[in-house]
Amino acid sequence: MLTCQQLTELVTDYLEGQLPFRKRLSFHLHIGMCRDCRTYVRQMKLAVRTTGALPPGDIPDEVRDQLLRRFRDWKD
C-alpha cells in the first residue's frame, strides 16, 4: 500500500503519465480513499495551471527600444 508521504513524491510522475501501470493503480486507489491526498493532488494541479496563467512580465523600456532598433536594422 502506498503511504500519503510516498504519494506526494509520485504526483509529477503521475501527472506526466510516467507511472508504471501498477503504481498508477495504487495511486488511483489511494486518492480514491484519502481525502487529504486528493486535496494535495488538486493543489499541485492548481499550482501548475496557475503558473501557466501568469501574465508575461514587463520589459524595461530601454530593452524594448534597443530590440526595436535591432529589428529595424534587420528589416533594412
Binding site: 503519465g17 520589459i59 530593452v63
Partner: protein
C-alpha cells in the same frame, strides 16, 4: 483524465504550427508589431532560463539580446521542425552555455543543485511515522488560476516564489509550466536527461505548491 486536465493548457501542435507560420510571415514582412508581440511574450522567460547558465543578470540580458539578433538572422531559414518557441529557446541556451563556460564563476547546468540529493516534496514533519498525513493540506478558498491571480498579492507572491527557486529547477519550470514546452523539448533545450527533468520539475512544482499553501493559509 488527470493528465488531460494539465495538458489542456497547451495548444495542440497543429494550432501552434499554424500560429507560428502566421507570425513568421509577419516578421519576415517586417511587421514591427509582430516583433513586439513575440518579444513581450517571451523576453521574461528567456531571461529566466538564461540565468540558469549565467549567474549575472546583466550578462543574461546580453545573452537574450544576442538571441533575438540570432533569431532574426536565422528566421528566413527556420524550417519549422520544432515550434518557433522551442527553436528560440534552443538558440538561447546554446549561447548561454557558451557564455557561461567563459565566465569564471559559472558552473555547468548539469551540476547545479545536484538531483541526487534528496529534497522531499513535503516537510517530513507533516507525516506520522506510518507515512499518513499528520498535518494534512487544508483546502484553499480559491479554486481556479484566474481567481488566484486576480489577487495582486498572490500574483506577486507566486512570481517571487519562482524567482527563489534553485536555478535549474526554475529553468525547467519556466519551460514546462510557464511556456508549455513539452518534456522532450525541455530536455533538449537544457541538455538534461528525461529523468533529471522530471525530478527538477517535481521539486519546483512541490515548492510552489508549498509556497502557495503558506500564502493561502498561513
Amino acid at each position: 483524465m488527470h493528465v488531460g486536465a494539465v495538458n489542456r493548457m497547451r495548444a495542440p501542435d497543429d494550432t501552434e504550427g499554424g500560429e507560428d507560420a502566421v507570425l513568421i510571415a509577419r516578421l519576415l514582412a517586417g511587421d514591427e508589431q509582430a516583433f513586439v508581440e513575440i518579444v513581450e511574450r517571451l523576453h521574461g522567460s528567456l531571461v529566466r532560463v538564461a540565468r540558469a547558465f549565467v549567474g549575472d543578470r546583466a550578462v543574461a540580458e546580453e545573452v537574450v539580446q544576442d538571441t533575438w539578433a540570432a533569431v532574426l538572422e536565422g528566421l528566413p531559414r527556420f524550417e519549422g521542425r520544432s515550434s518557433l518557441k522551442t527553436w528560440i529557446f534552443r538558440i538561447l541556451t546554446n549561447r548561454a552555455r557558451t557564455r557561461g563556460a567563459r565566465e569564471s564563476r559559472s558552473v555547468p547546468f548539469s551540476s547545479f543543485d545536484s538531483v541526487d540529493e534528496h529534497e522531499p516534496a513535503v516537510d517530513p514533519a507533516r507525516f506520522l511515522p506510518s507515512g499518513k498525513w499528520g498535518a494534512p493540506p487544508r483546502a484553499w478558498n480559491e479554486d481556479s488560476p484566474e481567481r488566484l491571480l486576480a489577487r495582486r498579492e498572490t500574483l506577486a507572491f507566486l512570481e517571487q516564489a519562482i524567482a527563489e527557486l534553485p536555478r535549474s529547477q526554475r529553468a525547467v519550470l519556466v519551460l514546462r509550466d510557464v511556456e508549455g514546452v513539452d518534456a522532450d523539448d525541455a530536455c533538449d533545450i537544457l541538455q538534461i536527461t528525461e529523468n533529471n527533468q522530471r525530478v527538477l520539475l517535481h521539486r519546483a512544482r512541490s515548492r510552489l505548491r508549498a509556497a502557495l499553501e503558506q500564502h493561502m493559509a498561513p
